[in-house]
Amino acid sequence: MTATTHDTAAERVPTGGLVVEDLGVTLTGRDVDIVDDIDLVLKPGEVVGLVGESGSGKTTVGTSLLGYARAGALISSGKVLIEGRDVLKMPWKEVREVRGEEIAYVPQDPASALNPAIRIGKQIVELLALRDIGTTESRMQGARDGLAEVGLPNDDEFLSRYPHQLSGGQVQRVALAMAFLPKPKVLVLDEPTTGLDVTTQAMVLETMAQLCRTYGVSALYVTHDLAVVANIADRVAVMYAGEIVELGPKESMFRQPSHPYTRALLDSIPHLSQARALTGIPGRTPAPGARPHGCRFHDRCAFVVDACKESVPELRPFATDHEVRCIRAEEIGTWDMSRGTVPDADPDKQREVILSVEGLNVFYGRKRVVYDVSFDLAAAEVVALVGESGSGKTTISRSVGGLHKDWTGTISFEGDALAKSARQRSAVNRKRLQYIFQNPYLSLNPRLTVEQIVKRPMELFGIASGKKATDRVIDLLDQVALGPRMLKYEANRLSGGERQRVAIARALAAEPDVLICDEITSALDVSVQGSIVALLEGLRRERGISMLFVTHNLALVRSIAARVEILQAGRVVEAGSVVTVMETPREEYTRQLLSKSPSID
């Protein structure tokens, strides 16, 4: 440590924090609010979690703290006070200085925030030079200290790397180091761990929380993931349709959530410790401009009364420091965390194996990515393939589905060995094994209507055609909880959850016996995930469909699967029934995954 860094550290006395008053952001040119009436206080050293689903306006609030609104939006009212000064009223030159120096921002995708053509060390030194921190000689040392703080190597070799030579977690920690170096007073983190593995996520979160506490930095942690918030935040604010609907200390928020929306969100989250019957929230998040009058949640709320539709409820105190925007908060009873729990899948159940994978090795060109994997799948059973990115879980599922053909070993379906690629397999096998993709925004042809998409497998496999097929499409859409109104819509008019339902309907149209689900809920909001999982569970029970469920979310595995295969670097490290593996893990790797998985219980 040089003298300079000592000085700056000494100067940093935790003061102030940040106060947001009556913040409103509208669309430019139209009187449509994206967020409004946001009141929020960040105390020094405090981490506030701002939780909301897509379209709730959480990122808009996050960037507003830096006096920034994305193109097309305008901060129209309110104050953002840092030590008594209003960021929104400052001349832009001053705002530029405040951004980064006093209020720092960590973006969702740091890889795109770092310049790919400049070495890491130089980027940090440039930042210090821009902020006039240290002298030319001391800046390199400053960069080293910053990297050490976030637990990264700081030798010359690391400093001279380019951003693409770092892993996702390392890039995110470099971004954290850069945010912390100017010693800001407030930190805004916009979903910084989305897309990271659980172990990396845990490491980044730990680093962040530790730095906040050490330097007395207040942080606003914007996320859609309640489980992450439960692990790191001191206080939690839940946003819905541009408003904060509930705000309170973490303990009180999770012990007695008082807004129906908060409860519905919590009900849709799977737990690590116990299987749950997940539920979703009916309907979809209203877009700015299409939000209902009165309480904005009233059209999706289970406790709605006429008074809810009349006027916008105020955010009012409910318990100590705990505020809620619901007129019926006292009347709707208490909430119990164990609500919706169901018995775990029975590990001793009789199994009738229909799909078995033996000695599977998968290659990408010369590179071998899956080593000698064997498992099987019984009728009406869900087997989960779990692992971090790069563990080969998706690769295995694609090989089973016939989408990747560079593999050796045997995959047999009811005794028949399956050919390598889908095209070489018999029509019957193709029909009985259906694949559902991770990203519903990519898996449906945007030019075709829902009817055309769902009808196609029926025509192809000669199940139905013409009018009869259309009737069946309506039937299937009904099963996935979509109305017949959707028939003529093109896929690009639907929301993510609706698209994934259409994708499921397409798979069901082939009347399959096995569904291969490749992280099918990871691109969706938790409430949508809840309803999709409920739908799949219904299909399994009613139709006896088996599923190979690929995911990185262990809590979800507990609620949906009967058996689990834990994968690490292309090998199965542990396998067995979900209860056994999750209650009494034998392998260190499994234990690690379990302990790093964020969870609200």
Binding site: S443, L460, S495
Partner: protein, 287 residues
């Protein structure tokens, strides 16, 4: 609360308008379309209103008789201009259509087949691409005494094809790797159907833009060929040929050259504005 209860009818985003509709909202496109339609209308209907016959001699060469004067043989220039667009229009339009169809087919098949096939098709494509467009046409034309319209169409089309193929392959590469194409593969759809129903409909915006641009090039190309003396009927009026025939009298009777030049220029500006408008719509769609 559960999913069994019927969900309320969801509010659905408005239907995405077609590329053409989106383009119509653009001034650039509508202006271009208007100009193009006016020129096309002129080419088709003007001969019926021509003051004289196509090859009728109305006065001494390069005189000021008539609205735009006379040309090197004493034909009325206005009449010649009114007659002279037909060949350019027909050959340019059909040549462009042929080039687009051929190029799209090559590009999409190369992208979809991938690997070795892609390599072979595109390298072969590069060989053809190495010839400047006009040179390729001249090479063949010099061997033929009197080209017929379909040979010219074929030449224009073939010279466009490799350029279109490059673009089509680039666009298609981004689409064939998308999950919905893989989903169709997994269902075992016929390859031709995957291309026609899944891939092609998703490329129409960039292809339309390219088509407009190719039409502009075609007009220029056919005009140049006419100027160099390659046309279906040497006696008939032809804008490109008129420039060449009358260039010696440029100082005494400039209209004999300027009139066809202006027609070609206006036509090109019209089609180019149209292509530009579509390209902007296509780009915005991607963002």
């Amino acid at each position: 609360m559960s999913t069994e209860t019927a969900p309320p009818p969801p509010a659905v985003a408005p239907a995405e308008p077609s590329t053409f509709r989106k383009a119509l909202r653009q001034k650039r496109f509508t202006v271009g379309l208007t100009i193009t339609l006016l020129v096309v209308g002129f080419v088709i209907f003007a001969p019926y209103f021509a003051p004289y016959g196509e090859s009728e001699v109305v006065g001494p060469p390069y005189s000021k008789d008539g609205f735009l004067g006379t040309d090197y043989l004493g034909h009325d220039v206005l009449t010649r201009v009114m007659y002279g667009g037909k060949e350019i229009l027909i050959i340019a339009v059909f040549g462009t259509i042929l080039g687009m169809a051929l190029g799209t087919a090559i590009g999409v098949i190369a992208a979809y087949a991938g690997g070795w096939w892609d390599e072979v098709i595109m390298r072969f494509n590069d060989v053809v691409l190495a010839f400047p467009q006009i040179l390729l046409a001249l090479l063949v034309l010099t061997a033929i005494e009197q080209p017929s319209a379909w040979i010219l169409i074929l030449l224009v089309g073939v010279s466009h094809a490799p350029r279109v193929a490059r673009l089509a392959r680039g666009v298609a590469l981004g689409i064939v790797s998308r999950d919905f194409v893989i989903a169709a593969e997994a269902l075992g759809e016929k390859r031709s159907r995957v291309i026609l129903a899944e891939v092609l409909p998703n490329m129409n915006a960039p292809l339309l833009a390219e088509g407009g641009l190719r039409l502009t090039f075609s007009i220029g190309l056919v005009g140049s060929l006419g100027f160099l003396g390659f046309s279906t009927d040497l006696g008939a009026a032809n804008w490109g040929q008129m420039i060449q025939e009358n260039r010696l009298g440029l100082s005494t009777q400039p209209w004999a050259v300027l009139a066809p030049v202006l027609m070609i220029a206006i036509f090109c500006i019209g089609t180019n504005l149209m292509a530009d408008g579509i390209a902007q719509v296509a780009q915005r769609g991607e963002n």
